[in-house]
Subunit: 275 residues, 2 copies
């Protein structure tokens, strides 16, 4: 928070960003827990995905997204993208005067609470896996934990295509997850906001004894904790509003996004991050 003392208005919105539609699974959990908050979501759909891009590029994009939300007067920023959380959180915290929550730490906490054997699997984009962020976060909480990582690059396009059941996603999951099954992990972190849509096939491959950890719920709880601790919960009895900003065509976002958000998306506006 850069050493400054900044006072926030409890009626100010919470800002949430992701590379595309995936972060809507996080926003959905936040909306469920905090029905009175105003929420502004930014999906960087003109430059999606982040998960296959380099740290430098992800940091550059994440910073522009965070700035765009900050100038709208948000009281808290949720980085609802695992790759951006893994690579850019320190840079964002150094640069911006708002409290910032990523999805990696809440996911790591939930995994450590869930595991009995201490063997934890983490699946994510190539970027998230390469960053080592989950491994660091888990071992800070549980130094003896053994963490096994696996990148699953096809899961994002499968989820966006809506192929979340049937033989293609099942065989892909089987191929990606074989090594983690062999390692007998008892907990698997779904380290990408798209993956909860594939929970069915992932659970089928891993079997009933493996707990699947979805960072979205944990991140929503962390959001409530931080707002509450700061006295910034909005509770004036009226439901909060949702606003969606995207960097590419709003109509495409509304179409794909509805699957992630669970209802049709209204109030989707285009913003330019490279004016």
């Amino acid at each position: 928070m850069n050493g400054q003392t900044v006072h926030f208005d409890r009626n100010a919105p919470v800002g949430i960003f992701d590379s595309g539609v995936g972060g809507l699974t996080v926003m959905r959990q936040i909306r469920r827990l905090l029905p009175q908050e105003h929420l502004i979501y930014l999906g960087d759909t003109a430059r999606v995905p982040y998960g296959t891009k380099s740290p430098e590029t992800v940091i550059r994009y994440a910073t522009r997204c965070a700035q765009t939300l900050t100038v709208r007067g948000i009281k808290l920023l949720v980085v609802a993208c695992n790759t951006a959380s893994a690579y850019a959180l320190d840079a964002l915290r150094a640069a911006l005067p708002v409290p910032i929550i990523g999805v990696v730490e809440p996911g790591a906490q939930a995994a450590v609470r869930s595991t009995h054997s201490g063997k934890i699997g983490v699946i994510g984009t190539p970027g998230t896996v390469r960053s080592g962020a989950y491994e660091r976060a888990i071992r800070q909480l549980a130094p003896d934990a053994r963490v096994f990582l696996q990148a699953c690059p096809l899961f994002v396009p499968l989820a966006e295509e809506g192929w979340v059941r049937g033989d293609v996603p099942f065989l892909a999951a089987n191929r990606y997850l074989g090594r983690l099954k062999q390692r007998q992990v008892d907990t698997l972190v779904l380290g990408c906001t798209h993956y909860p849509l594939l929970r069915g096939v992932i659970g089928k491959v891993m079997g009933p004894d493996v707990s699947l950890v979805d960072s979205a719920r944990e991140t929503a709880r962390e959001t409530r904790r931080i707002l509450s601790a700061a006295g910034l919960i909005r509770n004036n009895g009226r439901p909060g509003k949702n606003l969606f900003l995207v960097t590419d065509n709003p109509n495409t976002f509304s179409g794909t996004g509805a699957r992630f958000w669970g209802h049709p998306l209204e109030h989707v506006e285009w913003v330019d991050l490279n004016p």
Copy 2:
């Protein structure tokens, strides 16, 4: 060409751009046919893919790529990306003072030459399919042709992941291509530069009686024709040089790109399109 008269140097390089690595399949064919040309390739890897993005965004990105190559003094520009060719060719031709070749027209010409029944299938990204560019180009050459289009969004990530053989790509191809088989097309245009890597499974699904048209070869022939007609073929007996520019990390590009280029990639440099 904007009405200007511009004189080009036959020793100037040919510029080629794509959203990422896919256009290397086109550059490879150009290198094969024109061993003495200097070639500069630009892969917009920081913003890849284009195929799922809107026309406005693709035109904006394609224009920046084309400008970046034009200032390096190219004598000809090859738009080695189907989505950019489908959406942006007119805008680029209006804006830039170099001759410009896309991949759609050469692909359409090859399809019309190949078909006997007049029933032509075209597969591509959602953007290429939505644009209607192949249908227009084919029907201009063969007004009675019947054109059947199919978007195959998972083919690009499958090719980039290197999953080009085995059950996952086969089942995906089966699902995407079923309708085109029912229509009994006798020719199928691989309307995305990534798809030649999946030629094996696509051919297996479509069967031996369907000709697969790969725009890359056709585009290389068109490049030679245009340079030759303009007296701009470089033929001083020495082999041409290759230079690769990318907007994201050069190392990642070298890794994935080698599969598309057929050899290890040397001379890969980073460029910033948003200075």
